[in-house]
């Protein structure tokens, strides 16, 4: 397992995928800040910038990352080389999911930095004292990271099951769209009150975070739902990957 993880980190350090994604996220987030300022959509101060990291557009890039970093391993023979070397399939999967989590955390950190610094420059930082901001940052960065894990589990599952980068990206996009559409439907349905069902969707705990910053139970529920969305596809993927034929 240790060797698999070291190899993943080596590949990441030598591959341009992570670097290109960082650049893309930097550009798209900077563009968003400038556009908001010009169109005067809303004013977001630097101290609140980290809440912008959880948008679906950002999550979409993580789906692309899963496609290029994980599914492409089936195409270029990386998975084949690891398995034929006597590595266990569960270990290969775990190494991949760990590197996926690591990369998502790095990418989220980049987005958050861009949002905090960019919004501080454009709209001002805000009035939160620095010490208080550090605690606020750590707590909410953890929340956003766990929120994104709920996507990472599915994206990784798509990569392992399809073994094709393009199909992984497509399925990731469809999954995100489905989650958004379902959320919107339950939120706005006029007949029976379906809003309680929203609590079973990870994005509920992201979109409602502003109103629940001091609600401990809200965070606990959020972590549980997000982790369920993470572990369920991971367990299914490991089970299927152990039985799967590698082309």
């Amino acid at each position: 397992m240790k060797d698999l993880l070291k190899a993943e980190l080596y590949k990441l350090s030598k591959s341009n995928t992570l670097l290109y994604l960082m650049l893309l996220l930097f550009v798209t987030n900077t563009f968003g800040i400038i556009t908001n300022r010009l169109l005067k959509n809303y004013v977001l101060q630097g101290q609140d910038g980290l809440f912008q990291a959880g948008t679906s557009i950002n999550a979409m890039w993580f789906g692309a990352f899963a496609g290029f970093f994980i599914a492409s391993e089936f195409q270029n023979g990386g998975i084949r080389n690891a398995l034929a070397l006597g590595k266990y399939r569960t270990s290969v999967f775990m190494a991949k999911i760990f590197s996926m989590i690591l990369c998502i955390t790095i990418l989220l950190f980049v987005i958050v930095l861009v949002q905090i610094i960019g919004n501080s420059i454009v709209n001002g930082y805000g009035d939160m004292p620095v010490g208080e901001f550090v605690v606020f940052f750590l707590k909410n960065f953890l929340h956003i990271t766990i929120f994104h894990l709920s996507y990472a589990g599915f994206f990784t599952m798509f990569a392992f099951l399809t073994q094709k980068p393009g199909l992984t990206i497509l399925l990731s996009f469809c999954y995100e769209t489905l989650i958004l559409v379902c959320g919107g439907f339950f939120e706005n349905f006029k007949g029976q009150n379906l809003k309680p069902l929203l609590q079973f969707f990870p994005q509920y705990y992201y979109t409602k975070i502003d109103y629940n910053l001091s609600n401990h139970q809200f965070f606990v529920n959020g972590y549980l739902v997000c982790l369920l969305y993470f572990f369920a596809p991971v367990i299914i993927s490991i089970f299927l990957f152990r039985k799967m034929d590698i082309k």
Binding site: K2, D3, L4, K6, A7, Y10, K11, K14, S15, N16, N76, G77, G78, R80, N81, A82, L83, A84, L85, G86, K87, Y88, K243, D245, I246, K247
Partner: protein
Amino acid sequence: MNNKVVLETFQISKQYGNTKALHDVNLKIEEGQIYGLIGLNGSGKSTFMRIVCGLISATEGHIELYGKSGNADLQKQRSRLGQTIETPALYLEMTAYENVMVQMTLAGISDKKKVKEVLRRVGLTDTGNKKAKNFSLGMKQRLALAIALITEPKFLILDEPTNGLDPVGIIETRDIIKTLAQEYGLTILLSSHLLDELSQIATHYGILHQGKLVTQLSGDELLKATNQYIHIICDDAIASAEILNAAFSVKCEVHSNTELRINEKLDRIADFNKVLVLSGQRIEHLSCNQNKLEDYFLKITQSSKYERFTKS
């Protein structure tokens, strides 16, 4: 003394939907052998190799690697394998050095000197910062070989290692494989559709046809099976046969009034010629013929097709 058995398969079958890719394959490879797996495209060579490497599971039967079977034990034994199956498994955005480094890290080897050593062994020392995507097919094949060798395998599985290579590339790859077997004592399982090419490397052969292992034979057995004979065309075949029988006690097959074949004492072809000429026979043609491996392969596979046809 019996050599240690590296790989033995017992009634291995693989089914994809309604198609049976492998039928009850029983194959045995001993230490130090260069085992050539011969078969047409789609005969099941790659499927067989994938099962050995643990990439796909057999529908029926089981395999033993170094005497071990069972999923966990087999997987442990696979750390002694090196493989290149079908397309070379490479990271195209990386250099040759980096590609080998990935596999070295995977195997938990830390001695970086080995990377340069293995690249030297396959003739890729001068590629510098050139990325694998810019390599020729021959270079990619050699890099894949270097990746397979970095873990210092005892058993090497090479699927069509000369596929798509130009004649120079084929010779280079063949020389590398020969060196690996001779100098490093590796056991090698390799497949190729270039059958005569395979005959220059392999010590043992298995012919796979439509998922069935039609026959297994050693290099010596193949020589016998490929039917070597002396072919003579002369004025009077019957008289010539009598002369040769009297002089050398050889049994001749008279095929026509002017044509005969001798299936033994092939090394005495010059003496046969001398005796016949001195006896007044006019020799129009005299040669030692050996069917090519391709011919033998066709004969074997066609007869197996015929057997199946007659049985059904």
